[in-house]
Amino acid sequence: MPETVTVVVNGVSVTMPAGSMVSAAILKTGITAFRRSATGEPRGPLCGMGRCFECCVTIDGEEHCRSCQTVCRDGMDVRTDA
């Protein structure tokens, strides 16, 4: 198994250790706002375990994916919703 994976976050490539979550990859790029709340506030991960839905982003075209429960795959296209 290769030791790293590279995903693309808002058009920027980021390389992570294999097995990393998408949420960690997004934060590694320096982005902290994953989505906008109902009133437009920037939001980022809170619970880290799939319960709070604050880390939802668009992954390979699918909206509302919990990035903290999605493992990085090579070439994955990640778009934050903020």
Partner: protein, 408 residues
């Protein structure tokens, strides 16, 4: 051959799976995370870091178990049949016996600024770091309540974080009383103490606000009437844990004081449904393991063997009772939210809007509090603490699912 389905692949679920599989049941373990281990053994299926994880994953390799990860149970179609959403579609799980080992989540309390990015749960930040977030050289404030804060701080430190302070809301007197009874856990306490050498630990101290422009920049703290502010990159803040009881409630199991009610064999109020671990009350790793073992043996009909574990469980339950008494929340924390502080993060419902109502139902109907994607999993325990309202009903789907999963 009888079928057992275990919900949750953390310590309790894995221990139950082992006991059941060893005694001839066909066992399926299902978890919404991408790997087994739960929160405490996150990432340890591939690479055990703790001796307990090593022992249990080794044991599990000796039995035949089907593990389904990345799957979320969202509905019971009929008694004995659960539906789970997987990345590929929907799986139907048929069981003769069911074990709910759904674990716990952190309790979050609202305070001004808690919705800023980089304000996270204590376990939340730990989970992110365990799954690839570099924390080397970052300034982290750890705050809230419970033994998890110490474990998180120690872990973050091993990964190179600068832990500025651990702020525990419980008073030093309460902590001292608790510490006296920690004889059985002395080695764990000692090892944590060594890992945390040089880190400031303040009891009777809590975060009153988080500040920042678009993301966290600093944290305001209070202790004994004194107030001060500290700059930091992350705030890891959680107020102990709350059991995940939603699935149990959906199935109709009796839930009391926020925990799934079980009898001596971990059986719930429904005959073929069992529950083990944090879902039945917060008690930590050892209690989860022994409850899981008892549940697994019981569903396999090995009641004598299960009974032989009762004394260990009893000892761990006594510890759990003391733990939960010690880390009870102080009333001052109810004063933390300002009128414009958001309580329900999914629907952006403020404290002031909730204060206008007198029940969870009224607040829900008028403000949409608890009706967003998390379905009250974050604000529910906060609202219960702040207003004393308890969420009333759980309905399918248990979590937001794809339309295709519902119309199949």
């Amino acid at each position: 051959m009888r079928d057992a389905v275990i919900i949750g692949a953390g310590p309790a679920g894995l221990a139950a799976a082992y006991g059941a599989a060893k005694n001839g049941l066909r066992v399926v373990v299902i978890d919404d995370n991408p790997a087994a281990g739960g929160q405490i053994w996150r990432g340890e299926q591939a690479k055990p870091a703790s001796p307990e994880a090593q022992v249990w994953f080794e044991k599990l390799r000796s039995v035949d178990i089907q593990l389904i990860t990345g799957a979320r149970v969202f509905q019971q179609r009929a008694p004995g049949t659960l539906l789970a959403e997987t990345p590929e579609g929907v799986s139907e799980l048929n069981y003769d016996s069911l074990v709910l080992a759904t674990g716990a989540r952190e309790r979050f309390l609202p305070f001004p600024g808690w919705t800023l990015p980089n304000v996270m749960g204590a376990g939340g930040l730990q989970a992110l770091v365990k799954t690839g977030l570099p924390i080397d050289g970052k300034r982290v404030m750890v705050a809230g309540s419970g033994p998890l804060l110490l474990a998180v701080a120690a872990y973050l430190r091993t990964r190179g974080a600068e832990v500025l302070l651990i702020a525990e809301q419980v008073s030093s007197m309460q902590l001292a009383r608790f510490a006296v009874g920690l004889v059985g856990k002395a080695s764990q306490v000692f090892s944590l103490k060594r890992q945390l050498r040089g880190v400031r630990y303040l009891s009777g101290c809590w975060v009153t606000a988080a500040h920042g422009d678009g993301k966290l920049e600093s944290v305001a703290l209070t202790r004994g009437g004194k107030r001060w502010q500290v700059s930091c990159d992350y705030l890891a803040c959680g107020y102990h844990l709350v059991p995940n009881v939603e699935l149990a409630e959906l199935l109709g199991c009796v839930v009391e004081s926020g925990s799934v009610s079980v009898d001596q064999y971990q059986q719930t109020s429904i005959a073929n449904v069992y529950s083990a671990g944090e879902a039945t009350g917060i008690g930590g790793l050892e209690l989860s393991l022994v409850e899981g073992e008892i549940a697994g043996l019981a569903i396999a009909g090995k009641h004598d063997e299960a009974r032989s574990l009762f004394p260990i469980r009893e000892q761990q339950r006594r510890f759990a009772t003391r733990l939960n008494q010690t880390f009870a929340l102080r009333d001052e924390l109810k004063q933390l939210p300002a009128p414009d502080t958001i309580v329900c993060r999914c629907e952006d419902v403020t404290f002031a809007r909730l204060s206008a109502h007198d029940s969870w139902r009224a607040a829900k109907l008028q403000t949409r509090c608890g009706m967003g994607p998390c379905q009250g999993r974050v604000c529910g325990s906060a609202v219960e603490f702040l207003f004393g309202w308890r969420a009333e009903s759980v309905r399918p789907p248990l979590l937001p699912v794809r339309i295709q999963s519902l119309i199949r």
